[in-house]
């Protein structure tokens, strides 16, 4: 069969027929096949016409699948993969990146049994048992402590990190080894009636007392395996472009090389990397910006540099986001600043002037005020068209703020999954029913013309763009309520947000986000048509896997 009918050269052309191809490209929204050459879409159309025009070979693997552009997760972290190196003991069932279903542990006994199983699999008696996902909120009035964990082992060290990653519970063997005892004076080490620490270690200074187990837990999330697992997790849910929002120190040459070498053409990974400049600009922001400009030139097709992350406040569920009047519904103090409001413009300016893309974490509406004031100041001093600086999370952003974002040329990446994972708590506890109904206002953002994406912040909530889209379309909470029906968006809008919307914010809209000739041949390969299923079942659309740069990556077989 002819290989060279168009475009010349000797590259192979492959035609992939599908059941339906939703290109999300308004110039040709529906097709039945795609032609791929040199890792890119050559053309879309139907099989006969594509073969007649371009020749090539036909690959029928996806003939009964529905193809969409590969999903783009615009806010995720590398530990999405790395965390699965440890035993999951969370309350809700989750599926790991290798396909294993981890049932939820709804009782202390279930947690202990899960840990016992994991303990039996460890061969080296000196290797600590590391686990994650524990959430004491589900057992009000009762607290897992060292004695529960001692039932798993009295000799092996056990370190169980809680789901919020700010607390851990350890067993007596670990306490013995690290001299955590009645003499331990650190705050965050609660003690029982006998004067002994309970085994709970609260916040990082206390968690670090766990020594090698603590270091292993956080250190192993930087391993090569963690990067590979990140790719596997993405492939399983149809995501072809991920982001690493400030989790990797890009001033470290070894880390840069790790990403660029692991993400080769056989990998399902394409990642927009964001340098966490908040805590990691050791020679100041000007020097950091210059380093990021140099690094940008070392971008590959699969690993993109030139992005910076800043953070202004904390989280709403943690009580650390900065809220406008009237503050928290529960009456707690207003949250914390991670950058001084007076300093935000000064920190943003060097990156802005250098032409870099800056995404700033702002959950609360007061933090968004500071962000908008700072950006306005920087734009007046150093006008830069089409900067696309993005507000990450936008959870309480008001219509007035969205109007300013539009006027300033900003993008919104809205934390849509929150409605499902914390919606009931927001309604009842953190912000009350009215503000909860207005949270994560994707409808308002779109109506006011702000470029929109929606995200999971994985591993804060599980990676899965269809789930994020479902959350934005339905705004359902676990108690079965619709939280803010008027902020719901349509399936088409949600699918745009997780493809082209995200691509735009990453400055990759000419390369990913739709099935359009010349773009990378990245597809989400689905078993059902998300435009045809009941929108209430959008998150249940089975994912076969992905096509990444024209290479097929079937998802992990799901195992119990």
């Amino acid at each position: 069969m002819s290989e060279t009918k168009a475009g010349g050269g000797s590259s192979r052309t492959t035609i992939f027929p599908g059941r339906t191809v939703h290109t999300l490209d308004p110039a040709r929204p529906i097709a039945s096949a795609v032609a791929v050459r040199d890792s890119r879409f050559l053309a879309v159309g139907d099989t006969d016409q594509l073969v007649a025009t371009y020749g090539g070979t036909i690959d029928d693997t996806l003939a009964d699948k529905v193809l969409l552009p590969g999903f783009v997760e615009a806010h995720s972290h590398r530990d999405t993969g790395g965390i699965w190196q440890f035993t999951y003991v969370g309350y809700e069932a989750r599926r790991g990146p290798n396909g294993r279903l981890w049932p939820g542990c709804s009782t202390f006994d279930a947690v202990i049994e899960r840990l016992r199983e994991a303990e039996r699999l460890l061969e080296d008696p000196d290797e600590p048992l590391l686990a994650w996902g524990l959430d004491p909120i589900f057992w009000p009035g009762d607290r897992l402590d060292r004695r529960h964990l001692d039932a798993v082992s009295t000799t092996r060290q056990i370190f169980v990190c809680h789901s919020n990653m700010h607390l851990a519970t350890v067993n007596s063997a670990l306490m013995e080894a690290e001299a955590i005892n009645p003499d331990t004076a650190a705050a965050g080490v609660p003690k029982d009636g006998s004067g002994w620490p309970t085994g709970e270690l609260q916040e990082f200074p206390a968690m670090a007392l766990a020594g090698p187990a603590f270091r292993s837990f956080f250190g192993r999330q930087r391993s090569d395996d963690s990067v590979r697992l990140f790719g596997n997790a993405a492939r399983n849910v149809g995501v072809t472009t991920l982001t690493d929002l400030g989790t990797s120190n890009l001033l470290d040459e070894a880390i840069v090389r790790q990403w660029t070498s692991l993400a080769d053409d056989s990998s399902p990974l394409r990642v927009a990397m964001f340098h966490g400049a908040l805590a990691n600009a050791p020679d100041g922001d000007e020097a950091c910006a210059a380093a990021m400009v140099d690094l940008k030139d070392r971008s590959t097709d699969r690993i993109r540099f030139g992005n910076v992350k800043l953070l202004l406040d904390g989280s709403i569920q943690g009580g650390t986001a900065r809220l406008r009047w009237p503050g928290y519904h529960h009456g707690g103090p207003n949250g914390i600043w991670l950058i001084a409001p007076d300093q935000y413009a000064e920190r943003l300016a060097p990156y802005h002037r250098a032409g870099l893309q800056v995404h700033t974490h702002a959950n609360g509406d007061e933090a968004v005020d500071v962000l908008l004031d700072g950006l306005e100041q920087v734009q007046l001093a150093h006008p830069r068209p089409d900067h696309r600086h993005t507000v990450q999370h936008c959870q309480l952003t008001t219509p007035g703020q969205y109007r300013r974002m539009r006027a300033l040329g900003m993008c919104a990446n809205v934390f849509a999954n929150h409605t499902w994972f914390w919606g009931d708590q927001h309604r009842d506890i953190t912000v009350g029913p009215d503000r909860a109904a207005r949270m994560n206002a994707a409808r308002t953002a779109l109506d006011l013309g702000v470029p929109l994406s929606i995200h999971s912040d994985s591993p804060v909530s599980p990676l899965g763009s269809l789930h994020v889209a479902w959350a934005a379309v339905n705004r359902l909470t676990p108690s079965g309520q619709v939280l803010g029906a008027d902020e719901r968006i349509t399936v088409a809008e949600a699918l745009h947000a997780i493809t082209m919307g995200a691509a735009w914010q990453l400055r990759m809209e000419d390369e990913i986000g739709s099935i359009t000739p010349q773009k990378f041949a990245d597809c989400a390969v689905l078993e059902a048509d998300p435009f045809e299923v009941d929108p209430a079942e959008l998150r249940d659309v089975p994912v076969w896997g992905t096509m990444s740069g024209g290479v097929l990556h079937e998802g992990s077989p799901q195992t119990a």
């Binding site: 003499d183 004076a185 650190a186 705050a187 200074p205 050791p282 103090p333 001084a340 300093q343």
Partner: protein, 321 residues
């Protein structure tokens, strides 16, 4: 010497933007009063080290000819403390810079990490702006918490603020914090206090009444407990032996106003084989056990603001027994 396996004292320095943290840290590095200080900063950008003083530099660590080092915390706090542990035999103490909106008293909890002991929370305030800032919509609460949780508050910019402003600031501070309040510049030896190993060898023998264990004033410049500023009041005492826990409690509660620093290496009679460390930093006192007793003197040293009556300090130290 009771210095074996001594933990490194860790002091945190915070305060809002413009409060003078960088000035203070640069001063500590330039004039460390004979102490080898590891200063941990968020970035090197504002650190101003005289080229003649610089001994060597890597991406994360600057080494100075006077024995001090300066590290960035870019790799994270736990990792930076690991780095510092690697220098432990070459430094005497650690001072950590906290960002302008950070909470120093929370960062101070890292002082409980293995190899370290918490040694106070110092917060700087700018007398020209702190009262306004404290009611700022965005950062008011942050600043009030910094100040109210501090052990020592240092009022900076005393060279530009007028006497009335300084006094008004002091009055305002007395309403929002229990911290001991000092005016800059504060000599390094006062701000950080003496080193525990100096305490262990405390006082020249000539100044001690043999067997009496009474508190005394250091008599000689060679005394390791001396502080470089003679206006501050320094008193030391060698104890006759282990003391009761009750006397420590009494001593803690009876701290006279004006005490900036006190340090002790002592034994308690219910744990005579352990080394008990007393540390007073302004308004806070900690009593910790950091290892087995390994000989040396039971001794305690106190430093107070100029004008503090010596008699009150002597009486205070004599409560231990």
């Amino acid at each position: 010497m009771a210095t074996k396996d001594m933990r490194l004292p860790l002091t945190v320095v915070g305060g809002y933007l413009g409060a003078g943290k960088t000035t203070l840290l640069n001063r500590l590095l330039a004039d460390p009063d004979g102490q080898r200080i590891a200063v941990l900063v968020n970035d090197f950008g504002e650190i101003d080290i005289d080229g003649r003083l610089l001994d060597s530099a890597t991406d994360d660590v600057l080494r100075l000819a006077n024995g001090c080092i300066c590290c960035t915390m870019a790799d994270g706090f736990a990792e930076t403390l690991d780095t510092v542990r690697g220098f432990a035999n070459r430094i005497d103490r650690v001072v950590v810079e906290v960002s302008g909106v950070g909470q120093p008293h929370k960062v101070a909890q890292w002082g409980h990490s293995p190899g370290f002991s918490p040694d106070g929370t110092v917060v700087l305030v700018d007398p020209l702006s702190v009262r306004d800032r404290a009611s700022d919509r965005y950062v008011g609460e942050t600043i009030l918490t910094q100040v109210s949780e501090a052990d020592l508050v240092v009022i900076s910019r005393t060279d530009v603020a007028g006497a009335a402003e300084l006094e008004a600031t002091e009055i305002w501070l007395s309403g929002v914090t229990d911290a001991t309040v000092l005016r800059a510049p504060v000599p390094t030896g006062v701000l950080l206090g003496p080193l525990l190993r100096a305490v262990a060898g405390s006082g020249p023998s000539s100044s001690r009444g043999p067997g009496t264990g009474a508190a005394t004033t250091p008599a000689s410049r060679s005394d390791p407990t001396r502080v470089s500023d003679p206006e501050h009041v320094t008193i030391s005492r060698r104890l006759a032996g282990p003391v009761t826990r009750t006397s420590i409690d009494t001593w803690t509660r009876a701290r006279p106003s004006g005490v900036v620093r006190a340090k002790g290496l002592i034994r308690v009679n219910d744990r005579p084989d352990d080394r008990t460390v007393l540390q007073v930093c302004g308004s806070s006192s900690t009593v910790t056990v950091d290892g087995p007793w390994d000989g040396g003197d039971d001794a305690v040293v106190a430093i107070a603001l100029p004008g503090t009556p010596r008699a009150a300090l002597v009486k205070w130290l004599n409560l231990l027994g």
